[in-house]
Amino acid sequence: MNAFKNFRREAGLFLRSRTPIAALGLLCILVTIAVLLGQAEVLRQQASIDRVQELDSIEREAALAGAPDFGDAAYAAFFLTWNPPSDSAFLAMGQRDISPWMLRVRALALEGQIHETDNFNPELSLTGRFDYAFVIAFLLPLFAIVVMYDMVSAERDAGRIPLLAASVGNVRKLWIIRAAVRMSGLLLACLLPLWLIGIFIGTSAGSLLSVSLIVVAALLVWSAFILLFSFQSWSSPVIATSLMGVWLMLAIIIPLGGKLLVDRVIPDVDGAQISLLQRESVNDAWDIPKAATMERFYVSHPEWANTPPVTLPFHWKWFYAFQQVGDESAAELSSAYRAAIAQRDRLTGWISLVSPPVAVQRVMQHVAGTDVQASLAYDQRIRAFHERLRRYYYPFLFNEMPYRRELLTDIPEFASNE
């Protein structure tokens, strides 16, 4: 009861201060804008997926209906794969800004198809998106500094501490209550728009709760820094400048230094190199004896080794064999590419231990299903689906069956949760 009364008294005093209240209002507006922008992007992505799904089946049906043979059918029929946004993806777009979340594939060599979009959105990969995770990771600390940095020093500069001490008895308790009031204001500004909009658009309570806990944790960490500096007997400008220095170090310098370290320790594999290697292999196949290509293909697909040899200048089974051999040529590089991404992600995880903003973004992206792991998982789902697709066509191609549309009854279809 007493604690509530004390909290209410200090909240009343705080609400009369113009600058911190204006700062909280601005934070609330930024959070609202970030959440709405994120949701708008999610809706755009979901609408794109829905629209392309609809057109995809229509176009595929037309391609299959008009195909003269199974090779042509496999060549012309695209299949949509997609990675749907989770119900909390709007909070942290993460890898969805720089990695594909929708890809149409066909039974040709896969690596070229997967890495075709690697340079799809380089400007967003550089600057990041203004989403909720960005606001909490990078802007919330600045607002916390504005609201809390002079909690003690302003009283000291005004010469009010003796009066406060003589009135309250335990000044330390007063600082704790005042810190709690300010933190509550910051939390309210960050969480109220999130919950209101989140509930309105149907975000699960679990996701909202998880994200709220991340916000609380981030605020606790930054508040600890701010209070540590606030209790020093420094002037308000010195405290503010020092805290800005801490923010600069933790939010800019360490992440930048970390990026340089990651680049140096685990060099990035260029996705375009994989495409190039795979395409060179495919192109070379036109100039080498067909038997050599088929021999390589049969090593990984011995079940087709006993089918008739290719004698014609062009045969679909040879065509699809060299597509697969092309993928196999690039397999090592492709695997290294994914391993490097995973290693870089792990190292970034270690760096996030000394950079709260990086940690906040990573955890939020994990909750939102937009982190590197989610992106790699989608990549794996595409590969698994592509293999099912290829292997579906192989019996028609290698057994040299005459084309009939009605034979293609159980064509594999991508499921986003496969």
């Binding site: 009343g12 005093l13 009369r16 010469g159 009010r160 003589a166 009135s167 309250v168």
Partner: protein, 260 residues
């Protein structure tokens, strides 16, 4: 049987029965320099003790140590028998403090400031009591709901004095209370201090205003380089008037190079 450890100041009736404020062989250092050196004095209930001293003599340090905001390196302070180093909360609830600059919250009105600081002290003074205190200090009714940021120093000081009255504490600490007040306000303040003294409040006032101190105090102490170098008590007027301290005597002692 009571042991030495049981005889804590706040529980020892013998100590509580003594002076309301007792400063005993106090040594306080700030930034490596000894500001107070072996300072001893006491203030009884119903007594106004004025500590006179120049800049840097240690006047404000004495008050801050009494509140418990500065720890003594040696010696101690007792407020109603309790040392702030042992139980600052109990000590602070027993005293009210009035600073030179009347450090109110400028974005709050006079009434809001009083309400806030009284709430802080756990005092549930009624609105009528607040108005009565503001009447006592002579703050105009139309000013009471204005932001104190627009107040003159004298008006702010009146609000701070009203707070001290409303706190109804047995000990009152005043830091240069009449600094910046106009003569009328000083006269009103002196009358108020007499009222509080008559109610039995023990008042410790630090000031460099020789005349003001002699006018209102029942005892004056001279503080120089953190040491109490002389003290003077009020004596009865020959004509049976109010007890007072002779200004000339104090001035001579104040100007003397050595302690009196």
């Amino acid at each position: 049987m009571m042991t030495a450890q049981d005889a804590t100041p706040d529980k020892n009736p013998a100590l509580i029965a003594g002076p309301a404020l007792k400063v005993s062989n106090l040594h306080v250092s700030r930034n490596g320099r000894e500001v107070l050196s072996d300072l001893s004095f006491s203030v009884a209930s119903g007594e106004v003790f004025a500590l006179l001293g120049g800049n840097g003599a240690g006047k404000s340090t004495t008050l801050l140590t009494c509140i418990g905001l500065l720890p003594p390196s040696r010696g101690d302070v007792f407020v109603l028998g309790t040392s702030p180093s042992q139980d600052p909360e109990v000590v602070r609830r027993s005293l009210a403090y009035l600073s030179e600059t009347a450090t109110l919250y400028e974005h709050l009105s006079a009434r809001e400031n009083l309400r806030y600081f009284l709430d802080l002290a756990g005092n549930n003074a009624s609105a009528a009591a607040i108005d009565e205190a503001l009447d006592t200090v002579g703050l105009q009714p139309e000013a009471r709901d204005q932001r104190t940021g627009s107040f003159s120093k004298g008006m702010r000081q009146k609000v701070a004095i009203a707070l001290a009255i409303l706190r109804e504490t047995p000990v009152l600490l005043l830091d240069e209370p009449t600094s910046g007040l106009d003569p009328v306000a000083v006269e009103e303040f002196n009358q108020l201090l007499n009222t509080l003294r008559n109610r039995g409040v023990a008042v410790l006032m630090v000031t460099h205003d020789l005349f003001g101190a002699c006018e209102v105090a029942t005892r004056v102490g001279l503080l120089r380089d953190g040491r109490l170098v002389a003290s003077f008590s009020a004596t009865e007027d020959r004509n049976g008037g109010r007890a007072h301290i002779d200004v000339d005597t104090v001035r001579r002692a104040f100007s003397a190079p050595e302690a009196v």
